[in-house]
């Protein structure tokens, strides 16, 4: 099946080469980081996680969102999604690859990564995160590949695949819950120490992931002969709308608790994000942009005519992705460390090599995604023909 990835148009190869160049630049910067240490990044002793861990968090959400196609299809027998489950599963696979790479590039001592397996530590959430992410990736590779292979041969996939599909549904929820637990159980980090964290993560994942999937479906329709379908995109848009409303609602709950209780520890990180604290306010323009994007996306999604129009829907999805990315991929991590345990503020902004490494990892993920989507769409068109 993989041979389908070797036959493609000029645009296909051009895109892959473009991604390879970005991957090469990222790899070069990573080597520089490997030899010089993480001091080449914008992180510091006060803000000791940054862009990398933010991306990990964001893309765990994208990976988990695959379940929003799988669940209606297999639990509610919503047949229309049968056409695009493969796109959801392969998106999950490439998102998890990005997640694992983001953890890897964040490690101070990557050569010792196997210590996590050599000294298994059940009391560490990171240990469980490693397990759930890897298993979820394997589940999606096995399920996606086998279902696609069966479709190619015109037979029904084997029974044991169905078992794996049922396992993969709660598993998708687990990966983002465990990722939220990385943050939500740390004493003294007020912004993260909230029991709604996992719920917020899931809601933002279930809007951002399907929004990305809608954009991918539109691209697939444009560049391949496979059409993911109008109804499919319309149903996805409904899911995105509900999830985004819940996501914004959960965020407003956080604002209420912080500002009605007026406990400084709860207010400070939010004030830092939207206004700045102790003269450091570099994230404020971003957070306000995210707010505007969120409002625009909600208007476009809630109004039926703009939601059903694929042009305006694409705009809604793009601004929604931008809004959730700023919130989760940038603000969440930095605000968790701000103010620091001494209630002072240290500024964080990623450096150029740090951004290039991040882009390199993203390019790797999209490279895998392109190849997997090429295989999937080629086979789907062959079967249809």
């Amino acid at each position: 099946m993989l041979d389908r990835a070797l036959k493609g148009s000029q645009g296909y190869w051009g895109w892959l080469v473009f991604l390879l160049v970005l991957m090469g630049i990222g790899a070069g910067c990573w080597l520089y980081q490997f030899f010089e240490g993480l001091k080449i990044t914008g992180m510091s002793r006060d803000v000791s996680w940054g862009l990398y861990i933010g991306q990990l968090t964001y893309f765990v959400g994208v990976a988990a969102s695959g379940v929003m196609v799988v669940l209606p299809c297999y639990l509610h027998n919503y047949k229309a999604f049968g056409r695009i489950t493969i796109l959801g599963e392969f998106l999950a696979v490439s998102a998890i690859i990005m997640c694992l790479l983001f953890v890897f590039v964040d490690l101070g001592n990557p050569v010792r990564i196997m210590n996590v397996i050599l000294y298994p530590t059940p009391n560490s959430i990171l240990f469980w995160d490693m397990i759930v992410l890897n298993v979820y990736m394997l589940l999606n590779i096995i399920i996606g590949w086998n279902v696609l292979a069966a479709e190619r041969k015109g037979i029904h996939y084997q029974k044991w695949i169905k078992v794996l599909i049922y396992i993969s549904i709660p598993w998708a929820f687990s990966i983002h819950t465990v990722t939220a637990f990385l943050y939500a159980g740390l004493p003294g980090r007020h912004f993260w120490l909230t029991s709604i964290m996992a719920a917020r993560f899931l809601s933002s994942a279930f809007c951002a992931g399907p929004a990305l999937l809608i954009l991918l479906c539109l691209i697939v329709r444009k560049v391949t002969r496979f059409d993911p379908g109008k109804e499919q995109i319309r149903t996805l848009a409904g899911i995105v709308t509900y999830a985004m409303l819940i996501n914004v609602f959960f965020f407003l709950l956080e604002l209420f608790t912080a500002f009605y209780s007026q406990i400084p520890g709860h207010m400070h990180p939010i004030v830092f994000l939207f206004k700045g604290l102790d003269g450091v306010g570099n994230l404020a323009p971003w957070m306000w942009a995210a707010t505007v994007f969120a409002v625009i996306s909600l208007i476009l999604l809630v109004v039926p005519s703009t939601r059903r129009n694929e042009g305006t829907l694409a705009v809604a999805c793009a601004v929604l992705i931008a809004a959730t990315w700023i919130d989760k991929g940038l603000g969440l991590i930095v605000a968790g460390f701000t103010p620091n345990p001494f209630e002072t503020v240290t500024k964080y902004w990623p450096t150029t090599p740090e951004v290039l490494i991040t882009i390199g990892v993203l390019a790797t993920g999209f490279f895998v995604l392109t190849v997997l989507y090429k295989v999937a769409t080629s086979i789907k068109t062959e079967v249809a023909a």
Binding site: E36, G37, K39, R45, N109, N115, P187, F342
Partner: protein, 273 residues
Amino acid sequence: MGLDRREFLKIAGMAALFGLGGKAAIDIFAPGELEASMEGIPVSKGKRWAMVIDIRKCLAQQAKDKDGCKQCIIACHRAHNVPDWGDPKIEIKWIWQDSFEHSFPDQHNPYIEEELRHQPVILMCNHCVNPPCVRVCPTQATFKREEDGIVCMDMHRCIGCRFCMAACPYGSRSFNWGNPRKAPKELNPDYPTNRDYPERCKGVVEKCDFCVERIARGELPACVEACDKIKAHALTFGDLADPNSNVRKLLKEHYTIRRKPELGTEPNLFYIV
């Protein structure tokens, strides 16, 4: 399987318990250096090590020196090969000073004595009874020694994920953002300062370990020794499990506070204000 570091530390502790200091112990144990203050304290026998920091005595000593006293910091950082990066964003500190206001943010009080508010307080790892850093470490590179409660750090197992830094509510953990050997030469002319203490590579976390290597030999932690040497006696190290110990006596006689006690970490550092 060979000895791992953890086992080695345990054996070293036991050896000291039976007076079997190794050759290295004798080499370093220069005669005449033993401070009078540690007489009568069975340093290698503690069940729950703790420290009482007398801020008043420390401040009195600070006032004597026009640049402020930093003897404990200098001694510790020399003993443990802690480089000076000259950059607060990536600095490594096992023991350091910060203002009272920053050290005890939960004691918020805008009308507290001006004197105290901006005065430096000595800070280091709290060696919590319930350490969040140990809970989150995915490789057990940081662990609590059950026999004496010291929160140790195996810098040769650490993968540098920095989860412990996110978990520590006291900012007591430092990461090697760069290679310690590449720290600016003009700030570290004689680095490494102690050839008998292990060096570490970039990308690992480190912190105060109550001088496990010294107490195994029956010596006091380097900071305490340095403070006693100048007769300030602001730092008292002892066994909290022993009701008759020096630290228990101080705790009985003085009102003491701990950093962020509401988090349930149970710090083993106590401050006399």
